[in-house]
Subunit: 437 residues, 2 copies
Amino acid sequence: MVPGAVDVTAVAAEGHRYRGAATMGAPHCRITQLMAQDTYILGGYQTDFSRNWLKEGKQLWDIFAEVVNGALEATGIAAEDVQVGHVGNFAGELYAMQGHLGAFLVGTNPAFAGLPTARHEAACASGSVAVLAATAELEAGRYDLALVLGIEQMKTVDSARGGDFLGTAGWYEREAKGITYPFPKLFGRLGDEYDRRFGLKDEHLSRISAINFANARKNPLAQTRAWQNDEAKFATQIAGRIKVSDCSQVTDGAVCVLLASTRYAEKYAKGRGVALDRIPRILGWGHRTATLGFDDKIRESEGDPYVLPHTRQAILDAFARAGIADVWGVDAIETHDCFTTSEYMAIDHFGLTPPGQSWQAIEEGVIELDGTLPINPSGGLIGAGHPVGGTGVRQLLDAYRQVTETAGEYQVVGATKVATLNIGGSGTTSCSFVVGN
Amino acid sequence: MVPGAVDVTAVAAEGHRYRGAATMGAPHCRITQLMAQDTYILGGYQTDFSRNWLKEGKQLWDIFAEVVNGALEATGIAAEDVQVGHVGNFAGELYAMQGHLGAFLVGTNPAFAGLPTARHEAACASGSVAVLAATAELEAGRYDLALVLGIEQMKTVDSARGGDFLGTAGWYEREAKGITYPFPKLFGRLGDEYDRRFGLKDEHLSRISAINFANARKNPLAQTRAWQNDEAKFATQIAGRIKVSDCSQVTDGAVCVLLASTRYAEKYAKGRGVALDRIPRILGWGHRTATLGFDDKIRESEGDPYVLPHTRQAILDAFARAGIADVWGVDAIETHDCFTTSEYMAIDHFGLTPPGQSWQAIEEGVIELDGTLPINPSGGLIGAGHPVGGTGVRQLLDAYRQVTETAGEYQVVGATKVATLNIGGSGTTSCSFVVGN
């Protein structure tokens, strides 16, 4: 066990007890240590998610320059200090006919000549796997300051073609080829599965949607902040039980955060005259991948308390590494709500309620902005927007905003610890972080 | 400085002295420590690069299963021991309409349920950035055994469309859009730049090609091992000074390696009754990114001794971390030869000759299989094949084969240390490893 680590056996126990993990039984299910090294979040920058880059005549590289310079300015960090760059992006090859996006970082500042870079992808969890790649390098002592940029330009194609592109986040050949809007269908079926196992009322999904849109009105960078309610449009059925109001948005968006080792953070804190412990850290992380096909996942979790046990495990792993006992150890959650059904799933998977009882937390107002455990104060993917490769980084930045009390109108009062959940595919790759002081 | 690290100031000095690095001047140009933790290579598996998966009726997931199981069998490792999976892939979205490739790992073995996975991309250096992501996690102590799989299926489209896809490795909008075979053109211009600065004779490029094809005949997995010489076809001009014989191949290929922490490697060595120091390690690595546009690179390196100074620096970084003084500290090189001009560049950038004098090493037979410092004993990208996202991993596996004396007919006698160089784009992302005991 590393110096400073505490025994997390008790914390991790629940993860081992629950049937899914016990069945899986692999050594990779055990958390044997807390974080090897602290990673500090120094701040960042986010684009206004309501923009349309194509209509502005902007290309990807224009946006790279904007968010990198925005993040440097927001943190007061000199470009010369950045030692490595990681980019989260889902499908730049499809939406913008451009791969190799890590390299675009280099052109944003002359000081970045030679900067090591890479792009990381796990569908809608691309931003989080970029963060994990960056923090691994910091923990390993390779670098002291990493820049992580999550980006997706999606408003380059019509919705049918965009839906087809998103199908490559699932098993395209089996789940998406020739299917209109494959992902609304898959997440509609997630709702159907909840209905079959536990019962599910659409009014609870509608409430999730309403809360996200309401929170987004307080977020000056949210895509839907100024939308007029269009009841008829919102009620339009997309696939199965999924209506327009149940869907996250198609978004052009980019987010950049600067992550630091203790060594750099100490220097940074000293230079700004603040105590090191005032700078937020990534206290814990979880990262799990389930099999790609949705039906395979559902078949595998039959009899398990949780519909998506690997997503549950990613959350438990993050809690264990953060040394917190359960979800009541955090003050807010930024979760993946690509559809209302995914947030409904997140509620019980985070442990706000027993499995299948997410409706309780909705009915009791627990997840509202002034509730006991607000979910998506930012508005989430439904309200704030969902630039696929940017979302995981946006969640981390919003967690940072909350714990530094800089979230403005969507501030959760007294938030000191915030958890995130970012999901790629139909519950396939799950990444969770706990951010706090 | 970490425990066990030695002072590499002397080794790294050359890197600091040379003008390119001095001009760049950024802190990320300094190597302040050797490897924080050892990473061991336990072995792996490679597909026959002469195959055509589409013609076999095979899909990507079939290949995933083949190479994962092949690597587990080759190393005698139980699937339950694998704790994390990393996939290197360039453009699965374009060639095979499939993203989220990390998730395909999970379906290859029931023991992989929940396995954390991600896909990593840096154009033709995707395999190497996947290796770097895996080794960072091992060095950080997150996991003890990582599986890295590099894969590309390219024979799904005709050569014009494939050439267009490859254009997304460069700055598509500026360098590739509407251009036939953009990459042969870019690397033809690399040759032109050598010609302008130092003089370049096509006979030396032809010799590079001939050596790679000759070596490939000894490699039972090389794509061109059984090709009949077709002088007329080989002489066909593609772009500028680039002929068919100067080009790497369009390849369906996948490679998988198993990488371990010291803790796992000790257990593994003990279980097999071998000494730990008989298991090869990644002794050093380098990772640098230059600006994306080729013309910008060339303009920036004007007056520098090296045409691609950041590529040079990646090599120097790997040498410094490995604690070796120069290229004569390795016994063989597996380099990126997407075109003969890139290998010509690699010769002087590795330091076999002074800048611009690569022809000397070619004329003196230094780089031949029985020369004093063989380059591409495997046949390289020209002879063995170039499945884009697989190449970096294939180079690492070939380095492993050499230092374990299991390379068969293409064995370099007495090889104990081997260096690799993997390049994404037009000299944009450069990754280098030193493998040895």
